[in-house]
């Protein structure tokens, strides 16, 4: 990593503990670059994560206050932090299992409140830490350790979910397009409401090897191949959309901000 980013990290903690080829490292790099480019004071940033591989994106590596909480609850903890001290800039980075399954209720309620968080869902479609089990984001037909015959349940469209619940900035990125990810994180950090990024990531170890995507490169190429932009998707016939990942902004209602929790 370029030395100019050293003030943003705890260099002595590297190399990080993510598996080789894990897309979460790209998310970590994108977050550090976004923070550095925005020159946000690290003192006011609180990183909040739950349990799972995505907890390792922030925990111990980025040099800011870090809160590593119980499984599924980062948004609930963050709500107390933000209301307790509205000056703090809350960046929640956690996994799809943490935010959308066990913590799904907190996700829709934090979005409904449009509370001023930036939430990055490091979405690798699977429970990585615990051995590659089915997630609520696993694509139809995909093999996981608990769906050896292929997943028969429809996955969440997290962007549609958060937008419907009231999030005011909603976007999807993938680690196959890191520059777009950095730009989107910067926009989300600057937004003064509930900003949600569904950051599609790769897990060659637990997901790829069960789904004919054995190498990190194959996984990234697959993500890129299946990605279409919001603009292009709007021109495609409906039957072509299943199996595609629609990348871009779904909602950027920058006027709708969280006014700070009233001093009740």
């Amino acid at each position: 990593m370029n030395k100019k980013f050293f003030p943003y990290i705890r260099p002595e903690r590297y190399p990080h503990r993510l598996c080789p080829g894990c897309g979460h490292g790209i998310i970590q790099g994108a977050v550090i670059r976004a923070l550095s480019e925005l020159e946000l004071p690290l003192k006011d940033i609180v990183l909040v994560a739950g349990i799972g591989c995505a907890g390792n994106i922030t925990n111990m590596y980025i040099k800011a206050d870090t809160f590593h909480v119980t499984h599924g609850r980062p948004l609930a903890f963050a709500t107390g932090i933000k209301i307790g001290n509205p000056k703090l800039n809350i960046l929640v980075i956690s996994g799809d299992g943490d935010l959308a399954s066990i913590g799904g209720n907190h996700l829709i309620h934090a979005a409904r409140r449009n509370i001023d968080f930036t939430v990055i869902c490091a979405n690798n479609f699977v429970y990585g830490t615990t051995g590659g089990q089915l997630a609520s984001t696993t694509p139809l037909g995909a093999i996981t350790s608990t769906t050896p015959q292929g997943n028969e349940e429809a996955p969440f469209d997290l962007c549609a979910l958060v937008q419907a619940a009231g999030g005011s900035y909603v976007a999807r990125c993938s680690v196959a397009q890191p520059q777009h990810l950095i730009r989107t994180i910067k926009k989300a950090l600057a937004h003064k409401g509930f900003a949600f990024i569904d950051a599609l990531s790769t897990c060659p170890v637990q997901f790829g090897r069960r789904n004919d995507l054995r190498t990190p490169a194959e996984m990234l190429m697959d993500l890129r191949k299946k990605s279409v932009s919001v603009e292009k998707a709007s021109t495609l016939p409906k039957e072509e959309l299943p199996g595609k990942f629609i990348i871009g902004e779904f909602c950027a209602d920058l006027e709708r901000t969280w006014s700070g929790y009233r001093e009740s």
Binding site: R10, K43, D44, V46, N59, M60, K63, A64, D65, T66, F67, H68, V69, T70, R73, A76, F77, A78, T79, G80, I81, K82, I83, G84, N85, K87, L88, N105, H106, H109, Y261, E263, S264
Partner: protein
Amino acid sequence: MGYRMLKSTLAPGLYFMQGDEAVAEGAIAAGCRFFAGYPITPASELMLHIVKRFPQVKGKFIQMEDELASIAAVIGASWAGMKAMTATSGPGFSLMMENIGYAVATETPCVIANIQRVGPATGQATRVGAGDIMQAKWGSHGDYQIIALSPWSVQEMYDLTIRAFDLAERFRVPVVLLADATVGHLWETMEVKEELLVFDREKAPGQPPFDTPEEDGVPPMPSLGEGENLIVSGSTHDGFGFKKVGDGAVNERLVIRLSKKILNHVDEIWEVERHLLEDAQAAIIAYGIVARSAVRAATELRSEGKKVGLLRLKTLWPFPEKAVKGLSEQCGKFLVPEMNLGQVAREVERVACGVKVERLNQVDGEPIFPQKIMDAMKRLIS
């Protein structure tokens, strides 16, 4: 920092108040300015009073989506520098258990008022019970110590809530105000004094927030946003919060310190009240609303010439062993009336070797009345 006297926010004097409201007033007096909660009978009145009073003291209230979120928000707010609390009853208390363990492990001061109703499960939402005594101590996984207090009057709902905040901040531990529905819904007069004792968090910039070489065992506590690069984690961690999930010695050191910082200071924590015990040959050991019946029963029995007294437990956890053990050297017989099937009675049996411990249990959603305690005591001493 540390203990100091603070002027009461409420004008000193007498107030006619409900128990749940008195908890809210005690919290405000102690400096609590963050409350997150979820509606539940019979604790909702507490939240409603907070909503009414917080605007006057610039407090921050949020109604969360469930009890897991309520206690999570309370822990978050505590780390943001607030004195914070939530209130609930049995089912909500069950939902909070995992995060209470997180608060223990991360040494987060917070107060949880559990206005107990009769269970298990949904039970009878509007009726009283005291079935959560063991859950308060053992409900979250792993080995830990916690503090739980048991008020018997509206006055104590106020006083012990203040004390709960002081103990939470002093020892960096969640404190449970283990009240019951009858005390919660009781209306009576309480007195607000001019000044009260409060404890404010100790700070020591640069020092490890999760370990201390001091015998005391309670590290200083920074807040988020103070530039300390805090790492707050429920995983096994070293003094600066760095995860040490492969090092058994670090876990052992942490778990033992978390326990000892409470157990080495029991004399600062334990509170009991003795009634008519001077020459007593048999004693009732009671807590909460049942102790109100018990003091009446003891007084009546005294008037009949029976040498009976009451040991009232204001602290339930850590269990006030010294007082019970001391009394067991004086009295040969204990009666433990409880609105459960025998929870504190087991602790009494454990501590008071050689004393006959008689249980009086009732789980019909009613408080235990004095006559029933008198009858049981007469049988015990006859």
